[in-house]
Amino acid sequence: MLKIENLHANVEGKEILKGINLDVKPGEVHAIMGPNGSGKSTLASVIAGNEDFEITEGSVLLEGEELNELAPEERAHKGVFLSFQYPVEIPGVTVTNFLKTAINETRKAKGLEEMPANEMLKKIREKSELLEIDRKFLSRSLNEGFSGGEKKRNEIFQMAMLEPKLAILDETDSGLDIDALKIVANGVNRLKNDENAVVVITHYQRLLDYIVPDFVHVLLNGKIVKSGGKELALELEEKGYDWIKQEATV
């Protein structure tokens, strides 16, 4: 599904990613953990195609196709979804209108007709129930005045609506209380199938109690220094990152 080979990326001339390798297969959940400033969010941004970041070496492939030169919207059309750490506000644009535009633009790019209104409505109803979203929420301006938890829930709602092949969840757990965390995790688990894949970027192990990863990778100073199964997350929770740092320098 997602293959990252020797990826190096800069922001404003400074190298942040220093040779990342990652192989995510369909049906898998990967967690990327690491201390602040290790390059986790940069990795998410680079996969999504944010051009504040420059790829200097290596490549990002989705189903064997290189994404490096593609615009962010083209990557989205191919099934890349990023749940933002800090979702932006767009005043005056309702959640529904935004989603409608996003879905239809993607369909247009694939040469499909716009989604019929009743089909859209049915889908909205189904997915909003899944994430326990109040209908009133859908008529509010996108992220405007949303609480931290509402913003994150809205991200996952969009993911549910867009049905991506690859979902990257960037710090989705931050700003969520335990109830909201369960709802969001439950939503992600229900959307998970053998055809798609999820990359969870997180600081803490907490989210991984609910979205159980097949693999855990530790990112440190722009490189993946350790990979393992879900037990690695627990170990990190218990011991912190220092031992990994020591291991890495040895």
Binding site: A76, L82, P87, V93
Partner: protein, 481 residues
């Protein structure tokens, strides 16, 4: 692709005028220049009664004593009033019984504008009085309106057919000596629309007029008069597009609205005069006086979407004379490239318990300057008057300007006045967020701009709102890759 300020700027600058074409219709044009003889000739040409000729001459004489105003936040080369031709009419001017008889080239022009009469006719509930080059060419739905006693015709026709109404109300809201451009308009107005809604009648359809400038070098001086008699209601739509032009064109219209007791007038405008090319060359000068008078319990709503003109100078206003009367102003003004707009409103509270609302949305791009100028005046007798004003500016790029000049004069202690203002910028993070969801940059800007403008777009009648959204997109996007 990342979307940098630099790219955004470039893209906005490469936008070309969509409706830049010129229709070759034989027309009759007066020699250039302005004097009493020209004023008389215009009046004669239109077969006007002598009181009208005299009224025009008085306006002309007043105008010669006046000076062109300079207080607006705009700079432009003043028009040479002696180099303008003050009358231009399509030569073939029969009264058409059906569209088949209309000059096919003219119909073609309307088609290019997407406002073909066939379409308009089919669109339920829209009567169109088309003003092209100053003379009404076709009027539709007249019969349905006539059954209700509604008069909707060109002002020239009204002067002949309904002189008592015209005589009583013309200049009653905007006096002929009101200001430099109003005086000029009063002297030489070529044509325009007239509308009268009788007592207690609710106009069953949206009335609409399309204006266009189509003859090189002819300034257009439209005159509109709308009278809503006691307890009546009318929604009036005005839309403009103009062809590409090298020299500056002057447009100095006057619109007068009279809402008698318990009446309501909703006046909506979508304006898209040629704004000049990307170097700021050419473009229409739009110096308009629009004002409405509210009697007791009456309501006037101005809604406007302004995307065109090189220079705009326009303040649709309400005189809230009667007790409990209501004035509203909802505006979106877009400026791009070298466009300059100084626009806003005046709410003059005279009666008790009068209420006004002002929602102004300014969008500036390129090297344009966009100013809001508004006056809220509460007079001493206007007890319990209330006003709410909200002025929001959206900036695109680093070379444009947004300015707000609110004036508040309250002479009654019971007045409640609120003013809110915001300035924001389209952020690259917003664009990237949209991109990540599969929405390209062009569409993303349209989405953000429409969101910003929503409160005003919502006030427009449905069919107009769609057109207005399209215009906003055309005005701001250009062609992305």
């Amino acid at each position: 692709m990342a979307y940098t300020e630099e790219e955004l700027k470039k893209e906005l600058e490469t936008k070309e005028y969509e409706y830049g074409f010129y229709t070759d219709i034989e027309s009759e044009t007066f020699p250039v220049g302005l004097n009493e003889e020209i004023v008389k000739a215009i009046s004669l040409k239109k077969g006007e009664p002598s009181w009208m000729t005299e009224w025009r001459l008085e306006a002309y004489r007043a105008w010669t004593e006046m000076e062109e105003p300079e207080w607006a936040n705009v700079t432009y080369k003043k028009p040479d009033f002696q180099a303008i031709s003050y009358y231009s009419a399509p030569k073939k001017k029969p009264q058409y019984d059906s569209l088949d008889e209309v000059d096919p080239e003219l119909l073609d022009t309307f088609k290019k504008l997407g406002i073909s009469l066939e379409e308009q006719k089919k669109l339920a509930g829209v009567a169109v009085d088309v003003v092209m080059d100053s003379v009404s060419v076709a009027t539709t739905f007249k019969k349905t309106l006539a059954e209700k006693g509604i008069i909707f015709c060109s002002i020239s026709e009204a002067i002949k057919e309904h002189p008592e109404l015209v005589k009583k109300y013309i200049g009653s809201v905007v006096p002929k000596k009101d200001n430099f451009y109003a005086a000029l308009n009063s002297a030489v107005f070529s044509d325009g629309s007239f509308c009268y809604i009788p007592k207690g009648v609710r106009c069953p359809m949206e009335l609409s007029t399309y204006f266009r400038i189509n003859q090189a070098g002819t300034g257009q001086f439209e005159r509109t008069l709308v009278i809503a008699d006691e307890g009546s209601y009318v929604s009036y739509l005005e839309g403009c597009t103009a062809p590409m032009r090298d020299e500056n064109q002057l447009h100095a219209a006057v619109v007068e609205l009279v809402a008698l007791d318990d009446a309501e007038i909703k006046y909506s405008t979508v304006q898209n005069w040629f704004p000049g090319d990307k170097e700021g060359k050419g473009g229409v000068f739009n110096f308009v006086t629009k004002r409405g008078l509210c009697e007791t319990n009456a309501k006037i709503s101005w809604t406007q979407v302004e995307t065109g003109s090189a220079v705009t100078w326009k303040y649709p206003s309400c005189i809230l004379k009667g007790d409990n009367s209501v004035g509203e102003f909802y505006s979106i003004a877009v400026t791009n490239n070298y466009q300059q707009a100084d626009t806003g409103t005046k709410m003059i509270h005279l009666g008790k318990n009068t209420k006004s609302t002002i929602i102004s949305k300014g969008i500036s791009a390129g090297r344009s300057q966009n100013s809001y100028r508004g006056l809220v005046q509460i007079n001493s007798r206007a007890a319990n008057a209330r006003n709410f004003s909200q002025c929001d500016s959206l900036l695109m790029g680093n070379q444009c300007g947004a300015h707000t000049f609110p004036y508040i004069e309250a002479k009654n202690k019971t007045a409640q006045i609120e003013h809110e203002a915001t300035t924001s910028k389209i952020g690259e993070d917003q664009i990237f967020y949209c991109n990540q969801r599969g929405i390209d940059t062009e569409k993303a800007i349209a989405l953000i701009v429409n969101g910003f403008s929503k409160e005003v777009l919502n006030k427009l009648p449905m069919e107009f709102a769609v057109e207005a959204q399209k215009l906003l997109e055309i005005s701001l996007e250009g062609s992305v890759g």
